[in-house]
């Protein structure tokens, strides 16, 4: 088709619901300008600017939930329709709904807390690049895009925006071999996974004729569909799942995680473990939500369930043998991806009879906890070097009792001990899994939770019990940003555990919008 002749009119763009994304992006650009204008000054202005931008973006989302400032009902925008009725072709380049906004909020909060404790850490590590802040912000924008679209090309766009910034960030400490290794490994494997995703998108496009993921149920519902298209579709779905599975660190595609988490600067690791994972699961949920046709569900849910069990088991078992705190949390993040996948499988199996609140709640609790843990772990960076072995943390409770106490809360939440958000999250996943007759998944989750307690306790012992070796322990003075970050995370984790129903209500995902017609009107499902 010659676009020059086509009667293209600009699609009606509703800017308001995209404001959080735009604000975060523009904040990144402004931060870059500040760095450009004063490259020899301290980064304090950049830090304040990014924190302010993120705060405004987050406040807008919360305001929209409580007071509907965007004046927009949940809907899809940017629908450029190439023929067909609106229901068929759909929009979906940008989706404005509670799920997308929740994941966006998790990403904004993760970025905010990461930036809070970044400046002190980066100065101690002697990597005080002002470029760090714009890169983190743009990476967060990529994640936000991934969580609020239903078009495969936009998924890809968001994924690349997220990843390319992260590749640079992982290698930010270019003086250190481990950081270089992390960057190269992440870049090569990430590019490989991206090509899988892209090829999967191509196959799905070939089968359905559209890059919109709701083309898949449309094709499957079509009685006279070409049987070859269904086979191409299976291959395409597999490849897209591999692409997202890589970002979410699911087990056959998890190899990069520990090395990259260990080698990257701790603040970047924190953002990767929380933000990148939230974005990947946001995209995964959107995609899995589109493959709920019986033929596809029979093929994919058992596979995803097995991947979930593998992910949590492998993550936990290898974590038991680690001596490096960052690697332990890295493997723990793999295990948590497995727990999350159980929630996603149960949600997909229910086909709309249970809400997405479990996934989002667990994602939020996990993200906040992990970032808090990394904030405390970042304290061993001093005068250009950083020790992340467990022994390096001995005696932290003497030097920074508050941070050590926060660490206990984080480890309790990751292990799933009662008054914390992690406990309630696991409980919700149990409930969903049992509700959908996935008893074996629930049992696997339980066994793995018990396993994981062992290595979380090991970190707690290293931080709070073991006596320091004089030669070893070397801690930076906890600065205000780091203390605020750890304190806020600890408070939030406890609050999520205590005020669970309030949190769930604010997110508004507990009850699906329409449970009766869910199987028919797929357009309403996230």
């Amino acid at each position: 088709m010659n676009l020059g002749d086509a009667p293209l009119t600009p699609a009606p763009i509703v800017w308001e619901p995209m404001l959080p994304m735009i604000i975060v992006f523009v904040t990144g650009v402004l931060c870059m300008c500040v760095e450009m204008l004063r490259p020899k000054q301290t980064n304090n202005l950049i830090v304040v600017l990014s924190l302010a931008g993120l705060a405004v973006a987050g406040a807008l989302i919360v305001l929209d939930w409580t007071a509907a400032v965007f004046h927009q009902p949940p809907s899809e925008f940017f629908g450029v329709r190439f023929g067909g009725s609106p229901e068929e072709a759909g929009g979906g380049l940008f989706i404005h709904d509670r799920f997308g906004q929740s994941v966006q909020l998790i990403l904004i909060a993760s970025t905010f807390i990461t930036i809070l404790f970044s400046e002190g850490y980066l100065r101690e590590r002697r990597i005080p690049f002002g470029e760090y802040y714009p890169l983190v912000l743009w990476s967060a924008v990529g994640g936000m895009i991934m969580a609020s679209t239903r078009d495969l090309m936009i998924f890809f766009l968001g994924l690349e925006t997220l990843s390319i910034a992260l590749y640079v960030l992982a290698g930010l400490n270019s003086k250190e071999k481990r950081s270089q290794e992390a960057a190269l490994k992440y870049f090569l494997l990430g590019a490989f996974a991206s090509s899988f995703l892209l090829f999967g998108i191509a196959l799905i496009y070939g089968a359905t004729g559209t890059t919109h993921i709701l083309g898949i149920p449309m094709l499957m519902n079509h009685a006279s569909a070409d049987p070859t298209a269904g086979k191409i579709l299976i291959g395409g779905i597999a490849m897209v799942l591999i692409g997202f599975g890589f970002k979410a660190a699911l087990v056959p595609f998890h190899m990069w995680t520990p090395d990259v988490y260990q080698g990257a600067p701790t603040t970047v690791t924190a953002f990767m473990a929380a933000g990148s994972k939230a974005a990947a699961f946001g995209a995964l949920v959107r995609f899995v939500g589109a493959i709920t046709q019986p033929e596809l569900i029979d093929a994919w849910l058992p596979a995803l369930a097995i991947v979930a069990v593998l992910t949590m088991t492998v993550g936990n078992l290898i974590a038991l043998a680690q001596r490096d705190a960052k690697r332990i949390i890295g493997y723990s993040s793999i295990a948590h991806a497995g727990y999350l996948l159980v929630a996603v499988v149960a949600w997909a199996h229910s086909r709309g009879s249970i809400g997405l609140d479990t996934v989002v709640y667990y994602l939020g609790a996990y993200s906040i906890t992990t970032i808090g843990a990394f904030a405390v772990l970042s304290l061993t960076a001093k005068a250009g070097r950083e020790g992340t072995q467990l022994e390096d943390y001995n005696g932290l409770w003497k030097r920074a009792p508050f941070a050590a106490a926060a660490m206990i809360v984080f480890m309790a939440s990751l292990a799933g001990v009662p008054p914390t958000g992690g406990f309630v999250g696991k409980l919700l996943i149990f409930k969903d899994a049992l509700d959908q007759d996935y008893t074996w998944l629930a049992i696997a989750l339980g066994i793995n939770s018990v396993l994981s307690v062992f290595y979380y306790l090991r970190i707690v012992f290293a931080v709070c019990v073991d006596e320091p070796d004089e030669r070893r322990s070397q801690f930076a003075k906890p600065n205000a940003g780091m203390l605020t970050a750890a304190g806020a995370c600890a408070l939030a984790v406890l609050a999520m555990g205590v005020f669970t129903s309030a949190v769930l209500q604010t997110m508004g995902l507990s009850l699906p919008a329409e449970s009766g017609s869910a199987s028919r009107s797929v357009a309403q499902k996230p």
Partner: protein, 176 residues
């Protein structure tokens, strides 16, 4: 059109000019060429290998470098600046490709008075502003300067840290 262009093989008789009944595979000459070339190459290499005298010395075994005895290693390090310049050039290329493809469509839209013309113009302007910011950033951070990078300013470390400990190279713990 046998008559319109003079056939270069006309002097060989009518068989070679426009009178061929069986169509010849147009790739046949290429295959013949490849076969001839490989036969000649294989013959030359293998014959000289079979028949030639073999008296190898250390000097003969060394790599040929313009007739001069080679010095140093081939695994030489060269400045990363080359890569940086190449990457910036690729980015510039991509920018031009985007602009070009937009421009070809935009022209048609302006001539027809399509309502999207002005809209797309402003969209591209936003894109260009971001590009210019990036270009300024490249200039400002000294990525195009051909000397040592000045990106890492010690001034950024802040006072408190700078005084008690000067910059130390982080120790790689690979051995541990």
């Amino acid at each position: 059109m046998p008559g319109s262009i003079g056939c270069p093989l006309a002097h060989l008789g009518p068989r070679f000019c426009g009178k061929i009944v069986e169509p010849v595979n147009p790739y046949l000459p290429i295959f013949v060429m490849i076969a001839l070339a490989s036969v000649i190459c294989i013959a030359m290499v293998s014959l000289s290998w079979l028949l030639g005298p073999k008296k190898s010395t250390a000097y003969k075994e060394s790599p040929f470098e313009c007739g001069v005895a080679p010095t140093g290693s081939a695994h030489e390090r060269f400045p990363i600046k080359f890569y940086l310049t190449a990457m910036l050039f690729i980015l510039f290329d991509i920018e031009v490709v985007f602009l070009w493809s937009w421009m070809t469509v935009f022209r048609g839209w302006v001539e027809k008075g399509t309502p999207s013309a002005m809209y797309s113009f402003w969209a591209v302007m936003v894109y260009m502003v971001l590009w210019f910011l990036g270009d300024f950033y490249v200039l400002r951070s000294g990525a195009l300067e051909w000397e040592e990078s000045k990106t890492l300013h010690p001034e950024k470390f802040g006072k408190a840290v700078d005084e008690e400990a000067p910059y130390v190279q982080p120790v790689s713990e690979d051995a541990a």
